[in-house]
Amino acid sequence: MTGRLFLPVLIFLCAACARLPAITPVPGGLPSASDRAPCSVFPEGSWQFLHSIKAELPDGGGFTSMGLTLLSSHRRTNRSVIMTVEGFVVFDGEYDRRLVVHRALPPFDSPHFAAGLMDDIRLVFFEPEGPVIAAGLLANGSCVCRHQAPDGGYIDVEGPRGGAWGLKRYSRGERLVRSVSAQPPAGGGPGFPASIELTAHGSQNYRLALTLIEAVAAPP
């Protein structure tokens, strides 16, 4: 009985105590912060993505939906639409220096949901804001670039390794709050990840599994 309790408690404590992993500098150094090549994993240009999204919620529930994302990497803008699997729009929001919600139906109509969703989408699809303050190798050998986020937190962009890449977001207090894992692209496509998994850590933990259905070049 004690053993059964101990493991979850230990896992919880470890997660709560997560800290920034050490970065080992590479002899000769990675390219400078202005050259993002080693950690350049985000889509460039204007694109329309359609993903299926499987959500796993803290209460053990979950649902599947469709996510439409239109983005411009140059303008750092995005329009994000959540639809039922039948194609009915339940959320439609836009970010262009500020968040504008065009449509939000229950249960997707809380301001927290809109802000959180947009944060997650921008984390997955855009190069982080803020300067690169460290670059090198993690203990697992991954190439990593660490950004200092405007909110005082940190974002580590890892990879790519064999077409896969990862991303971790830490709070100002160095607590892990988001992790992202992207799988290598399916063959024949424009080279975007076939699937992306985002995990939110903490008391309101959830997991989103995105599977790419189509990627269409959009007008600039």
């Binding site: 329309q48 599947t64 439409l68 039948e86 229950p106 070049a217």
Partner: protein, 206 residues
């Protein structure tokens, strides 16, 4: 103001479509009501186009649909994401393909389903003009235009247009206008009226 759940809306939309497919062709409510009694089951394929002003190109999906009176429905998308909505008597289920296999999604709202089924029985009788959720008018074409009676519902659906085929009992398209900038069009093909449909199709997703 009455609140509508998304699950209610999806089932309502699906059942409106099923009812539309099984009602008759005609130029008056009386003809619709008369033809309604002739149709006991329907099988049809469909192509669904999602149009939004922001899209570089429409989102297209396709599938097949089965209906049997009085209240059995299988609405199955086969591409791009396979998912199946099953309704049979007092039971409703949604199955979604995940990692290559169909997985049942929790959260089906049986109470909402009962409400919808009561409406379906009205639609199958051709009593569109007596529907508590939508007011309906019959335009030349013929086209049935349905608009929500309650303002709260117009935030979800502004109106539904059903264009009837020249072939009695068959419709060409259903267009669901969500907003001024977004609509969904379903184009039906290979519609078969009163086919024999295996009972298991309404009970098993696979």
């Amino acid at each position: 103001m009455k609140n509508y759940r998304i699950g209610d809306l999806v089932r309502t939309a699906a059942l409106i479509l099923s009812a539309c497919l099984s009602i008759g062709w005609g130029g008056s409510w009386e003809e619709l009501r008369s033809a309604a009694g002739e149709v006991q089951s329907v099988r049809a394929e469909f192509i669904q186009e999602k149009h939004m002003k922001i899209l570089a190109r429409p989102l297209v999906s396709s599938g097949v649909f089965y209906y049997r009176s009085p209240a059995s429905l299988r609405w199955e998308y086969r591409a791009p994401l396979r998912n199946i909505l099953l309704m049979d008597a007092d039971r409703t289920e949604r199955w979604v393909e995940t990692a290559g296999s169909l997985v049942k999604e929790a959260g089906a709202n049986l109470q909402a389903m009962q409400i919808v089924l009561e409406q379906v029985s009205q639609w199958l009788d051709g009593r569109f003009d007596q529907n508590p959720m939508f007011s309906a008018r019959l335009d030349p074409g013929p086209v049935i235009v349905m608009t929500p009676r309650e303002k709260a519902f117009t935030k979800m659906i502004q109106r539904i247009e059903v264009r009837l085929s020249d072939r009695p009992g068959v419709i060409d398209t259903v267009t669901i206008h969500e907003t001024d900038a977004a609509f969904t069009r379903l184009v039906f093909k290979n519609v078969v009226l009163n086919p024999s449909i295996d009972e298991s199709l309404f009970r098993q997703a696979s």
